[in-house]
């Protein structure tokens, strides 16, 4: 079984919840009830953060949300033609070929470190490392940015792809149904 459906998002914050419900209904109708019950929260967190990311960072009027449902995985892809993922001193996409294979620390506090791994000049994957919580001081040093962390913890993989041919950005999130 493989199903796909696309949804247009107008990048407005008030549209997040109605679209989230629409997408979750599509998933619920096409996934067994037991699997849906286990994964619905993961999908909801991913949708909220992908759509919030579009509102905050894309700088364009619309994004496309594409949902693929297979036997073992749900893939959620957000596509837009807005601003590419920004890696500070690494420059714009496409990245220089010498960066391929590098593990770049993009966020670090006392609880988490998030890395971007340069898979190719046009793609990144992401990983998170957790540190134990053992003191109040760690709370005072906590960062206040959680979007990427929520995507990583809610899913099995998070990838970013920049397509040179049309300048489009793609965030691919996989949620395993296993």
């Amino acid at each position: 079984m493989f199903l796909n459906k696309q949804f247009i998002f107008d990048n407005k914050v008030q549209s997040i919840q109605p679209l989230m419900h629409e997408v979750l209904n599509f998933i619920r109708e096409n996934v067994s009830p037991d699997r849906y019950a286990v994964k619905v929260n993961n999908c909801r967190h991913v949708l909220v953060e992908l759509l919030t990311n579009a509102v905050k960072h894309s700088g364009v009027e619309n994004s496309i949300l594409s949902i693929d449902i297979g036997d073992k995985v749900i893939n959620i892809r957000k596509t837009d033609n807005g601003r590419p993922f920004y890696l500070k001193e690494y420059g714009n996409f496409p990245l220089h070929a010498s960066f391929v294979g590098e593990q770049i620390e993009i966020h670090k506090d006392e609880l988490y470190c998030i890395y971007a791994i340069v898979e190719s000049t046009n793609s990144l994957s992401f990983e998170v490392v957790e540190y134990p919580i053992h003191s109040l001081d760690q709370i005072m040093d906590m960062e206040e940015h959680y979007g990427l962390l929520i995507l990583l913890k809610s899913s099995d993989s998070v990838r970013y792809l920049f397509k040179e041919v049309d300048g489009s950005n793609h965030f691919d999130i996989s949620v395993s149904l296993a």
């Binding site: 914050v13 997040i16 919840q17 989230m20 929260n41 909801r44 967190h45 909220v48 953060e49 919030t52 509102v55 905050k56 609880l111 957790e130 919580i133 053992h134 003191s135 109040l136 709370i139 005072m140 906590m142 206040e144 940015h145 959680y146 979007g147 962390l149 929520i150 913890k153 809610s154």
Partner: protein, 114 residues
């Protein structure tokens, strides 16, 4: 955004919106800090009306907790629906905020989950 009421020896701040998102985050933090500055230092935040929370609002919540700790105050949360509780557990916010399932009778011994 929040309604604050006195209860026992602390205060309850009830979030009055269903969507705790990026549009509401700054107002929420400002109102909560204003209440703390007026002397209400131990505040239980009620999420009973909230359907979902995004990363921006979560950031405002953490910023408010950090502010509370700098002034000798304390924050805890209550009334999380299953979806929000799942998010808290997933990113270990339940180790940062004390999560109450029922309204505690009184404030005692600090609320930091640790």
């Amino acid at each position: 955004m929040i309604e604050i009421t006195g209860f026992s020896n602390y205060h309850i701040a009830t979030i009055m919106i269903a969507e705790a998102n990026m549009e509401q985050a700054d107002v929420f933090k400002h109102e909560l800090i204003t209440e703390m500055d007026s002397g209400k230092k131990q505040i239980l935040i009620s999420f009973e009306n909230v359907q979902y929370i995004d990363s921006s609002f979560l950031g405002a919540l953490v910023a408010s907790l950090k502010y509370a700790l700098t002034i000798g105050g304390d924050l805890a949360v209550y009334g999380l629906n299953e979806n929000i509780l799942n998010l808290f557990e997933m990113i270990r916010m339940d180790k940062v905020f004390k999560v109450f399932k029922t309204v505690p009778a009184s404030y005692e011994d600090g609320w930091i989950a640790g």
